[in-house]
């Protein structure tokens, strides 16, 4: 649910990084947090377990600057990827304006990626959201690993990207693909605001 305040010329959008456990959702936010200047970001909050796995969510607010005369802010969230945190994922997904699906490119994780994508669609449907209208981009993370360990982008696209949404190869730990992914979802979310579509 994007909030548009015409009086103060402000727009706030919620973007959720979704995907299986250990795919690199939190790593994406850490990289963004490290790159964005201090006056353009809030505190990064991580509600994590003692072993650093996301328990509830990570949260990072960033100030995108002025677009079409509106001060534009993005609230970036991650969900916990582990299967047993289903309730939490639903709560964090509530009111999302866009989703970044972070897939783990390791060949042995393909099944987890597919299950997580199905879980995303099921949770959106449960909230009355037509998944086909939800702005979505897919990031194939860990493409920096040795080629014998990873599934190629083409194969991952075949397995996961049945909507044909923008997809990005990435190495979130070191940065390649992180910026492109954020730009991709930003464009989609803001495009809806430029057309006034409700997307229900």
């Amino acid at each position: 649910m994007s909030l548009v305040n015409y009086a103060t010329r402000e727009i706030t959008c919620k973007i959720v990084y979704y995907g299986p456990g250990r795919s690199g959702k939190t790593t994406n936010l850490h990289y963004i947090y490290g790159q964005v200047p201090g006056d353009r970001k809030g505190q990064m909050v991580s509600l994590a377990t003692q072993t650093d796995r996301t328990l509830f969510f990570d949260f990072l607010p960033i100030d995108l600057g002025t677009i079409s005369g509106f001060t534009t802010r993005f609230q970036l969230y991650t969900v916990p990827g582990q299967v047993y945190y289903q309730t939490t994922r639903k709560l964090v997904l509530q009111g999302a304006d866009g989703v970044v699906f972070v897939a783990d490119s390791q060949a042995r994780q393909l099944e987890e990626n597919i299950e997580s994508m199905q879980d995303l669609h099921a949770n959106l449907a449960e909230q009355g959201v037509d998944a086909r209208t939800m702005p979505l981009v897919i990031q194939y993370n860990k493409q920096d690993l040795p080629s014998e360990m990873v599934t190629s982008v083409v194969e991952l696209d075949e397995a996961l990207n049945f909507r044909g949404v923008p997809s990005f190869a990435a190495d979130a730990l070191h940065g390649p693909g992180v910026f492109e992914t954020l730009r991709g979802i930003s464009e989609q979310v803001l495009r809806r605001l430029s057309t006034g579509s409700q997307g229900r």
Partner: protein
Amino acid sequence: MIRHSVMVGWADAPVKRYVDDARLQLSVLMHPSGQVLAQHGFQRKLDVQTACALSAAINATAVQLGLLIDGAPFTDLHYAGTLRQLYLAQIPIATGTLVLLSVFDEESSLGIVQLYLDELRSTLATTAPAEQPDSPPALAEDFERELNTNLAALFGRG
């Protein structure tokens, strides 16, 4: 359901009056998804967003915990700190339920907060729009150039 909520300031004045009457330090009215609707007391807008995200999480957890233990959501939560107290409350309006975070110190008390909170609930029940207005386009269609410039600047690529 995804909507672009157009803020028309219906919440600003009632929340400001509530803050003054209940002698609060901070108060934020938000959508349960963590989007801020009105706030008084925070200096930095990015801090407001963080407070909303965490408050929404507490509220969501309390609702689920209440359902698990009591069969009904826990709607209001109170934390009594030594220096500051926190009160997290749900506010029903025609289109759903909002969440209100209130922070106060020895200048106020739980009783005063609850008293004026009831008043705020009544006010918002009448001032909140019954239906979301249709969202007109917010951004110009050629927004991409500004988006790309801003993102590049944000990532030190400008």
